[in-house]
């Protein structure tokens, strides 16, 4: 039995076998072999298995994304059968008596290197595809067939170094019981995905996690931030009792999830959901969401070779809006930068992508590209309460430029004969300290603020949210963050506009009472957090929460602020 401590990233408990997602590059050994024919047979078996994996991924991509995306995996499959590559590999095996792994990786490497030397950007990017296929075969040769998330065949707990959106896009989410990662913080992609799926997750478990054998039984506790490997019988029993109790508690909370959140002294709060794709909208309603406070649109843009066109975007927005009916849906325009590489958008590589050319900064520099999204949003608006939100705003001028592009997009949509909703609220993410400090100057040009506490915290404390070494600094309950939230809410209310929080903070049971006390209007969170936060808000009076918040902003640290909330809650 082994116990690992990490950072709690998504609430809940799960027991099940480990599914290790090996992302480490397989480095083949190089040796001379006695029996070249046997080496060739090993390669053929691995190629056959790789064909099977690719066919399954291709079918899934075809069913879930699009024909064009499926074609990429078709090309991958063709690399496996490439006669020139196979001839090169066979020659190395037969004539130099080289082992399969080295011969295969040499062949892959020579084509990948040739592609990397080409002037065409598209072809240069194919070098990564070739290596991807090459690694798939090396993993199979090494007996690491489990390394593909799409190959998850039974319900399991996913174990990985860290997960990116492209890792998880082809994951069969119905088979995942929970996530645990060696790296990452509470706002990493893994955490956000786990919360969206209402699955338990623990992140930052350290490098020892990666030594967990592929079939080990795991007990994952997303509330305590704990993972137990190969538990003894007593531990298993204790875990199952606790998880039964937690499930019972969650049931009680869920039963009241569709009631509004009204404090004991009668203040009604809006509790809405963060969603990352149209399918999440139905989940959000099931957990009692009164609308959507943050609809991230990156799902439309990631893991594909070409940009989504206007029609495709209209369809995707309509899919979410139709589920939500007349409830408010706040859509955030594209938020990508140098930390993600999109083949059709030259974002470049940056040393500090979170301080770089991203989100609204990039979109304002590419007005024709940006207006495709704006037109699609406007076309999806009739009959719904669609609201548009610009991310990564630092200056008033950026809002004005974004709004004039939106006006231009509106004229284009109307000229093309499409109806547009008469009034569409337009607001900004407050996630850069400059916007928080200067909130009163932004009030005249927006209809609302939504505070992105994940980034606001990372920028305020200069602590990168994906770096486990500084993760302890990145707590949104830090008084330096709380005071900025206070300032934003005061400025907004003086100007008669509403304020929400759409970071993980809104769904944090300890932070929610402080936000209530600061006067927040809208709480937007992962669907799974809604039932519990509603229960918490109903248990407070606004007057008490206001006193709590007044004390919290005058403390020295996030830990003190959290301890204060716990002492009040008793």
């Amino acid at each position: 039995m082994l116990k690992l401590k990490g950072i709690p990233a998504s609430s809940g408990m799960a027991a099940g076998p480990a599914f290790t997602y090996a992302q480490q590059e397989v480095k083949p050994e190089r040796r001379v072999v006695a029996d070249p024919a046997a080496e060739w047979r090993r390669l053929e078996a691995a190629l056959e298995a790789a064909r099977g994996q690719l066919a399954a991924i291709q079918a899934k991509a075809q069913a879930e994304t699009s024909e064009a995306e499926a074609a990429i995996f078709e090309a991958h499959a063709m690399f496996l059968d490439d006669p020139a590559l196979l001839e090169m590999v066979q020659t190395a095996i037969d004539e130099q008596h080289l082992n399969t792994e080295a011969a295969w990786w040499d062949g892959i490497g020579s084509y990948a290197a040739e592609m990397e030397g080409m002037t065409d950007e598209y072809l240069r990017a194919r070098a990564a595809d070739i290596r991807d296929v090459g690694q798939r075969v090396l993993r199979l040769l090494a007996g690491q067939a489990e390394g593909d998330l799409a190959a998850l065949g039974q319900p399991a707990i996913v174990v990985a170094r860290d997960l990116t959106p492209s890792d998880t896009v082809r994951l069969d989410k119905k088979l995942v019981l929970g996530f645990c990662t060696a790296e990452g913080g509470p706002t990493s992609h893994t955490a956000i995905l786990a919360k969206a799926l209402a699955l338990p997750a623990v992140v930052g478990l350290g490098a020892d996690l990666l030594k967990v054998p592929g079939d080990a039984l795991l007990l994952l506790d997303g509330d305590r931030g704990e993972l137990i490997v190969d538990p003894d019988d007593t531990t298993r029993e204790d875990f199952s009792v606790r998880s039964g109790r937690a499930a019972h508690q969650a049931e009680i909370e869920l039963a009241a999830a569709h009631e509004p959140a009204i404090t004991v002294d009668g203040r009604r709060l809006e509790v809405v959901a963060n969603i990352g794709n149209p399918e999440d909208a139905a989940t959000a309603l099931r957990y009692g969401a009164e609308g959507v406070g943050l609809f991230r649109t990156e799902f439309l843009y990631l893991d594909r070779q070409t940009a989504p066109d206007e029609e495709e975007q209209v369809t995707a927005y309509n899919a979410a809006l139709d589920v939500m009916g007349e409830r408010p849906v706040v859509v955030r325009t594209l938020d990508v930068g140098g930390d993600k590489q999109l083949p059709y958008l030259d974002l470049g590589r940056e040393d500090n992508p979170f301080l770089g050319w991203r989100a609204i900064r990039m979109c304002l520099d590419k007005p024709d590209f940006f207006k495709i999204q704006l037109r699609a949003l406007l076309r999806a608006s009739p009959g719904h309460d669609l609201r548009i939100m610009f991310p990564m705003i630092a200056t008033v001028d950026e809002v004005q430029r974004a709004r004039s592009l939106l006006d231009a997009a509106r004229r284009e949509v109307i000229a093309a004969g499409h109806p547009v909703a008469g009034r569409i609220q337009t607001g900004i993410m407050v996630e850069i300290p400059a916007a928080a400090v200067l909130a009163d100057r932004f009030v005249p040009v927006v209809d609302f603020f939504s505070i992105g506490t994940n980034d606001l915290t990372q920028y305020t404390l200069a602590a990168e949210r994906t770096n486990p070494k500084v993760a302890h600094l990145g707590d949104p309950c830090h008084p330096a963050v709380l005071r900025q939230i206070q300032r934003v809410i005061e400025a907004a209310h003086r100007g008669g506009i509403w304020v929400g929080v759409c970071g993980e903070m809104a769904g944090d049971p300890e932070a929610a009472p402080v936000l209530l006390g600061l006067g927040l209007d809208e709480f937007s969170m992962a669907p799974g957090s809604i039932p519990r936060v509603k229960v918490i808000l109903r248990g407070w009076s606004f007057a008490d929460a206001a006193r709590l918040a007044a004390q919290a902003v005058d403390l020295d640290s996030a830990d003190e602020a959290r301890a204060l909330v716990r002492s009040w809650a008793k």
């Binding site: 064009a68 074609a71 078709e74 090309a75 063709m78 690399f79 490439d82 006669p83 020139a84 590559l85 084509y111 040739e114 592609m115 080409m118 002037t119 065409d120 598209y122 072809l123 194919r126 070739i130 070779q305």
Partner: protein, 90 residues
Amino acid sequence: MEQLRVRVVNEVGLHARPAAMFVNAAKSGKSKVRVRNATTESKWVDAKSILGVLTLGVEKDHEIELTAEGPDEAEVLAKIGDLIRSDFAA
């Protein structure tokens, strides 16, 4: 031996889907088919090799040269020629 010289009019050249369709057309026959990018005077590669075809870097308006040798050499080149001239509509 049959020969063919044809201009690629497709917007993305011989990349992505068109490259795969081109290779599948070459594979459909029994003949040995070789291709090179005449515009860049590239080396000759096996037309049944997707990796080889991609390394030719064929862009829109490049001309490619093909040779085929085998029992169905004329049919295979005709098929490839039609595919390219139809802008990969097949």
